[in-house]
Symmetry: D2
Subunit: 341 residues, 4 copies
Amino acid sequence: MLCFESDYMLGAHPAVLEALIRTNMEPATGYGADPFCASAAEKIRAACACPEADVRFLVGGTQTNAVVIDAMLAPWQGVIAAETGHVAVHEAGAIEATGHKVLALPGHAGKLDPAELRAWLARFFADANREHMVAPGLVYLSHPTEYGTLYTRAELTAVAAACREYGLVLFLDGARLGYGLMSPASDMTLPDVAALCDVFTIGGTKVGALCGEAVVFPRGNTPPHFLTQMKRHGALLAKGRLLGVQFDALFTDGLYFRIAKNAADTAEQLHSLLKEKGYEFYIDSPTNQQFVILDNDKLPTIEEHVAFSRFEPYGETRTVVRFATSWATRPEDVEALAAIL
Amino acid sequence: MLCFESDYMLGAHPAVLEALIRTNMEPATGYGADPFCASAAEKIRAACACPEADVRFLVGGTQTNAVVIDAMLAPWQGVIAAETGHVAVHEAGAIEATGHKVLALPGHAGKLDPAELRAWLARFFADANREHMVAPGLVYLSHPTEYGTLYTRAELTAVAAACREYGLVLFLDGARLGYGLMSPASDMTLPDVAALCDVFTIGGTKVGALCGEAVVFPRGNTPPHFLTQMKRHGALLAKGRLLGVQFDALFTDGLYFRIAKNAADTAEQLHSLLKEKGYEFYIDSPTNQQFVILDNDKLPTIEEHVAFSRFEPYGETRTVVRFATSWATRPEDVEALAAIL
Amino acid sequence: MLCFESDYMLGAHPAVLEALIRTNMEPATGYGADPFCASAAEKIRAACACPEADVRFLVGGTQTNAVVIDAMLAPWQGVIAAETGHVAVHEAGAIEATGHKVLALPGHAGKLDPAELRAWLARFFADANREHMVAPGLVYLSHPTEYGTLYTRAELTAVAAACREYGLVLFLDGARLGYGLMSPASDMTLPDVAALCDVFTIGGTKVGALCGEAVVFPRGNTPPHFLTQMKRHGALLAKGRLLGVQFDALFTDGLYFRIAKNAADTAEQLHSLLKEKGYEFYIDSPTNQQFVILDNDKLPTIEEHVAFSRFEPYGETRTVVRFATSWATRPEDVEALAAIL
Amino acid sequence: MLCFESDYMLGAHPAVLEALIRTNMEPATGYGADPFCASAAEKIRAACACPEADVRFLVGGTQTNAVVIDAMLAPWQGVIAAETGHVAVHEAGAIEATGHKVLALPGHAGKLDPAELRAWLARFFADANREHMVAPGLVYLSHPTEYGTLYTRAELTAVAAACREYGLVLFLDGARLGYGLMSPASDMTLPDVAALCDVFTIGGTKVGALCGEAVVFPRGNTPPHFLTQMKRHGALLAKGRLLGVQFDALFTDGLYFRIAKNAADTAEQLHSLLKEKGYEFYIDSPTNQQFVILDNDKLPTIEEHVAFSRFEPYGETRTVVRFATSWATRPEDVEALAAIL
């Protein structure tokens, strides 16, 4: 069975696992105060070219989004997101569970449009009734988006400028950040992201770790008592080392980027092969998630040989399906997939 | 440096790590729907002698307490706990963050007194103003408690009877459950716990896993849409396999109990050795946490050789310190500790 | 100065005030257990033709929406509303503050479209990822809507049928219910509303009272411990009599409906006069709120003589303004307004 | 039937009602931006000798406590209160519903002990685990307390000093403030309260109004966007005039203090008469609530003629009952009560 269902179907990248094995019997203090977390943070600071950055490690994506957003908003503020954004749709109301509204704006292949954002903000802050409404306090972007698309550097710069003008925090959810940065379509580096955002995450779960998201506050702008706020949301691991060891491995010798590059390369290979064969793409994704439109009557046969995910119906007789590559996808897997299709 | 600081200072028990290595490249569905979680749940059902039990896997202790308590209480209800209970003191308000009050009752070496509990409930339900008050909906016990003490089977039976009489849920926090069950002082088995409680946890983090708490609903009495409720609290892992693989290993060939037995044995050894030497114990704990009163002026010297935790001041010149044993503690470590003291 | 700013610009209808004066020195138990609340509830039951209805009295509209919605949803559920609905836009996140998401659907002149609603529900309950999403638990309608428009009986019946099919609660926010029922365009009676909805409110604040909203659970389907839930949200008045006395007066001799009829009649008069004069209406409202498009340069002059509210910009040079009639509007006021315009 | 059940059994003081009648037909803007609120605020500033004070008007006591406490705490902070404090016991978890813990300290006849408070704070801020705990952010006092007792000026000064030293907000719940200030036992004035507290309330509901609590931020230290925060908690009245008119009347010509003085005088009269007759007092209250211990077998007879409230059982055969005086209590009512007892 070929595995293209998602990028979190396997365990950890072997080098990450190896690091867990190697450090297993070294005693370390709990709750993130261990040397592994310190070392990982140092390496991430270097990779971000942000010597003042504060780096914290949480367990999962929804948890991280909820903790960060709640910690950076005032009680009367909400978070702006594309209507297809993860926090708006697929987190079971985790943001609302912290008392904050998600202010959904139109999504364009998963992305916010900077001009629409700016116009929305201008309208809000000119509204005579705004004190009866939830004030925007933070802009949430996923990069890559849930549709595999990417912001250009110019777009992210425009979003950041709008945020600064109106006093909003810019938060980039990088659950799949590596896959975005290593895409041939990307014109941004990790230091670019760090320079433009007020807070962002570097996803581990989907990029070779067993679990874990690194949260970066690039200018040391961590909300007060963030450890307590993590604990209050059940997001503080006793064995914080589990996260530190993994991120330390991921940011040693560029492993994180090599993992991502493999996924980008095999995704591109998949894209080319399917295009050649005349397949129609639902969206033009330059990252590790490829969205293809298939005939419903062919799905069962394909599913005998390939694990993939059914994304959404496309008319009466077709379905958008997603193939995801990862650190573990080999060129021969892609060829085998293409052969089956 | 001798390591007695806590039971979560190392990585995982080697057999747990081995299971992670062995299964690493087997693809598996996310969010707990993988075969490892299914297998672990089956083994836990067997160990609990509860064929109808539903078993779910969460990441950490505070998270688990908050998710379970919130899911089992109605909005107007609160949770009864000993004033020293983890949910009452050391979870940074995680329960209140879900909107529920912790109703603190006196603690007796960490334990609720069944008679006091019953009297409190009788008083509450006879109070003419009770509709203006938070109604008790669940009793939270930690077993072993935060002071290492244990409920007897008779005590737990009395608490359970009070809960049933007044319609409350009985929840046992077993973050260190193994250490309690394998204590020579225990008169309870895991099936006893399952028979008496409405929901309980089997802690992994402190008993040999990298992370993870198993939640057992012994009679299949899982709250509705519990997966969604987990997600809403950021407690649903994409790679749920990480938890399933570990608990599957812990409940294979009785590993969980062997781990706990080692901690119990070495704790008893420590207790005897220190008693012989005339040390005063703050509390008479029969489990893996030993609380000893030391002179403040001796602490720095000891800390050069031993990692332990300062628990609380004891008058002006002495301090209660905690030594914790674990699956990794060897008899020679205990002897070395005794020699230093 | 002519007063068309809103329907809450004056104190109470004289008959309501008279009732407060008359009962002022009669001692009565607190928290809604007084004879005035009992009498008002009885009269409302009769007006609704719902002998089994339970009627509760809260203070304001946002408060009532938040308390009712929170009490009728499970924690993992959200409330469906038109994107222009009061709970979606103008309650400062009061619903989210209780942990629930507002699921916004397109609004059509303020109304949900029953077919769109049904299609949305069908799609949601067929979505393979729905356990990762906020489940709809309640449909919120305002009637009249924020744009003064009305659901027909057929539309409300269709919405109710969709709710029943999918197990959702139907909640009608009747902050201005009287103005809707007495509109010449209405084909519904209060008993119709009671028969079709699971819970609805009868607004007092905007229909002649100083404050107060009556919540009707038509089939005695009050959520458990609703008094405690009111208290928990700060919505339980010590002097509940203040609400009971007012609603008792409003539902004596049809006062509530006479008040509403006056507003409907004067709104119709206003509509005719302005139409004659060639004014353009932003929306065709059959109730006491009339939305007219005026040239920006004429606004300051009009504002010297008339209090009204600027609703929203209409292009660069014009503005949508709202004129609201009420129990206190006299035909000569409308004529004076028309003369000024 | 004599009315001593509570101080909220009647409608409004006649002068308050008269003000509502007089202003009824004057149009006024909503949401607290009316001239009545402005005038009331000005008079309260004068009475407090606080020209910079910001004064806001909310509806009820529990609501006000929840809104103020939530607005003045950071998310990770909790509120310190006596274990018998209203927010700790009788508000149905309204504080926890906003996500904050009530940190209960021992109550001494309803009061916090300043020295115990200071010691508790010292211990908390020295605790190595404090980042895992809810940090105290605000001290809540009720004055008079739920037992009718009063803080002395020296005690309140000591509490304020502890708050300042540790960076906490001092909040005084004055639901019955007038009855405290006019007690012969009081050594504090309203300006004293304003000088010592960071925020306090002046209760209207129990001191002659139909409803309403004035919140005073003595140094203009209102939390940001407080109107939005009120709205978010359902605490913003459309007809804010209802509150403004009443408080304007209460603070015209010292009415608030005259009302309170009548209650204090009649309470003192009651105290003397019952003491003469040999009745035992549960607590020595110098304010309008008097707590007397009565034999259970005499209660039914007394209840035929007098409305009072049963407070709590006192052993097997006796009960603590409360008699409350108010603005409406006449000396002859007290004599009649004494005659019956």
